[in-house]
Amino acid sequence: MLNLVDTSLRDGMHSVRHQFTPAQVAEVARGLDRAGVGTIEVAHGDGIGGSSIQYGISAADDNDYVEAAAGAVERARVAVLLLPGIGTVEHLRQAQACGATVARIATHCTEADVAQQHIPSAREAGMHVIGFLMMSHMVEPGELAAQAKLMQSYGTHVVYVVDSAGAMTPPDAVARVEALLDAVDCEVGFHAHNNLGCGVANALAAAAAGATWLDGSCRGLGAGAGNAATEVLCTALDRAGHETGIDLFGLMDVAEDVVSPLMPRPQIIDRASLVLGYAGVYSSFLLHAETAAEKYGVDARELLVELGRRRTVGGQEDMIIEVAAELARGT
């Protein structure tokens, strides 16, 4: 059976500038749990410890989000994301004390070894540990598989191909999932972004290639053009003959009745988010780039293309300001 992770309350935080309240988190988590979603990821969009001027100050403490979700679910597991260099093992310990049982440890796709403190700590603490290789489009499948192997050696239960920039098309997703399956003994997952309109298609292709963990978010709520919409993905998976254990109508209701009213704007592929996929830029840069483009009077698309050209990685939101100021000066 496929394992579904809904990240409306974590990746979706980017779309609401990390402003969900714990009460909203509890409401969405309750609905997802009832619909049979197995894992629900919560807290700041950049993971626990991410609340900052750099990424945005969240409306509540990460621990309050975890507690709200854990208190609202009966069957689902609550997951947190941790980016070494931003969050710490201490943040993870606190999240676990508040009810998180799944730890997703994320690094840039070439830097798996910065997780060598966090993966073993999470594993020893009894958490289900998922290694998350962000910006996976930036390296060839073989190199990505070597990094996945490193993560597995630290103790992951699952390693993920993460298309943070929404820059992959289905053949890219398949090649990477297959390379990981060849290299590791643990399970393999796929996290899609929809900047090129391939979110659901990439996740389906990943599943067909053997991925057993898939991410989605209700209505696609997430960074850039958003993620694979969980309710669309689950319905399509069902049609493709995959077992998900999800109550499809229940999930559609959560997406439409609970999550949709919380969305500040429709999660569409507008020109700026399309350029994220085109230029291979970290999806979370979108709102920061729009803000900087307006402040410095430059075109958001030119700004994003330049950030792609400089091979910026996830977490470098401060570069957006620097490059926007540079473009405005014409240097």
């Binding site: 900052s52 260099g85 093992v89 840039h108 070439t110 830097e111 070894d113 910065v114 977490g315």
Partner: protein, 294 residues
Amino acid sequence: MRRDARVKAAILGPGNIGTDLMVKLQRVPVIELALMVGIYPDSAGLARAAELGVATSTDGLDAVLERDDIELVFEATAAQVHLENAPRLEAAGKRVVDLTPAAVGPYVVPSVNIDSHLDAANVNLVSCGGQATIPFVHAIDRVADVDYAEIVATIASKSAGQGTRQNIDEFTTTTARGIEVVGGAGRGKAIIILNPAEPPIHMRDTVFATVQRPDPDAIEDSVQRMAEELRTYVPGCRLLMCETDGRQVTVMVEIAGAADFLPAYAGNLDIMTAAAARVGGRLAEHLLEARVAS
């Protein structure tokens, strides 16, 4: 003080950091590098030291302890090693500049607080991100009173060794504490990002600060003065931005290394060895002044 008076010093740890520091210490007039110490005979750093005419030893700490004439010791090994070495160095009366994250002694950032710790037995250099950003937190704080400061250090993947990769939590927590204790922020936070782009990027640092008295001119003047001060020992420090928007101050700098031994992109390592040489030089001057006075 005799014009040619010098303090004898040793470096523990002939790795990349120790080797770069060795090159920089050749330019500090008050220090005579008398010994480079390792444990492995085939160390490239020891070979390089011998080429420069610096005495070498593979006997580890003991080689330093048996030399009464050596007053100043630079620890460029690892935190665990320094935790073991520190008490023995102190018992032997050596003055120690610690480049590891062990933090046995008080945090020192040369452009901010070296004069407060001239008599400390052991001083610690915080972290590379701390050396690059704490001066600017302090520069903002001294004119605007910083409630909260957050730094983002982005470094070339190639410049992050195993020590950094195995202990990335220590980087963030130590740097955050340094921002508070030395920088003067009410609360501090640190973020580190590794970027694998080729050719390798220079170190980039951003300081975001929330302040009590947001006077843009006073802040910019103070930050500019600090950048000049930093350039006296880190010539490749370039101020990219200093902006005050409401109560929020944003400062961005780029640190290119001097390429003494380490490559220029490793500005994060260069700023540590440059700070160590500057702190060591100041401690040596202080020791020489005490010698004249007694």
